[in-house]
Symmetry: C2
Subunit: 125 residues, 2 copies
DNA sequence: AATTTAATGCAACAAAGTTGCTTTAACAAA
DNA sequence: TTTGTTAAAGCAACTTTGTTGCATTAAATT
């Protein structure tokens, strides 16, 4: 994957954010005119394929992207994600990995665990 | 909520299915011309509000609807859902409820736990 | 049977994402 | 440094999916 202005800016946006971002949110953050909206879609696809970012599907169906925090050895993204219904923010709860026991005759490729409610910040205010 | 032909047919379709169904899938199952596609959207919204069916957001963002199986006392839907990448079917794995420990300063309203991979049926074939 | 109003049908609209194709620019080789 | 190759970007058109407004229909209550 070539090191283009759009790719660098989008990856930087995701990595500097402490919440998961959608295409629309990334577009809003990027300097106006930095790149076409189609380019954002295409760069995001490539970043996911390249395993440079994680993909989360929010409880409302909107796809969000988050930085790979501790994926140096292995690309892993099995923690819980929290969707705040007040501030509409999705965060990686990196230290909370759920446990569950599916029968062994299921082949597991991917997890998407969403918890929705009200975040600590919105609760005390 | 009034007992209409569309509502009865849609609820029956969901209840008779052993997999979760999307609006598009329900529309394909219903007899042609039974009701307008907009009606399906509106009936589904009401069935969810009325707590007659459960709502699941698949890993691809598509919303699916499943019957309330053991919700006579309480409307609860915290088990895992499995998305098969081969047969493209979403099933409720009713007996597998994940455990996780979020800090108490999170207010939890709703869960959406998806596991994606290959289902037992598709594995041995 | 008459009344009320929830529910439906239909058309138009809106949001979100995709595709085809031309042009641009990253980057490697000469 | 120039040249060639092709991935990536821009742009317009399109598709898909879901929503809204409003007139009409039909459930349910009296
Ligand atoms: Mn995450
Ligand atoms: Mn279920
Ligand atoms: Zn919040
Ligand atoms: Zn399958």
């Amino acid at each position: 994957m070539r090191k283009t202005i759009a790719k660098e800016a989008i990856l930087k946006t995701i990595n500097e954010s402490d919440t998961a971002l959608s295409q629309a949110e990334i577009q809003a953050i990027l300097p106006d005119g930095l790149c076409n909206r189609v380019t954002i879609y295409r760069v995001l696809d490539r970043l996911v394929e390249e395993k440079s970012v994680h993909q989360i599907t929010n409880i409302d169906g909107v796809v969000k992207y988050a930085n790979c925090h501790s994926c140096s050895t292995e690309h892993k993204h099995d923690h819980i994600h929290f969707n705040c219904e007040k501030c509409n923010v999705v965060t990686c709860v990196e230290d909370v990995e759920p446990t569950f026991k599916l029968p062994s005759n299921y082949q597991i490729n991917q997890l998407n665990f969403m918890v929705s409610g009200v975040c600590p910040d919105c609760l005390d205010s």
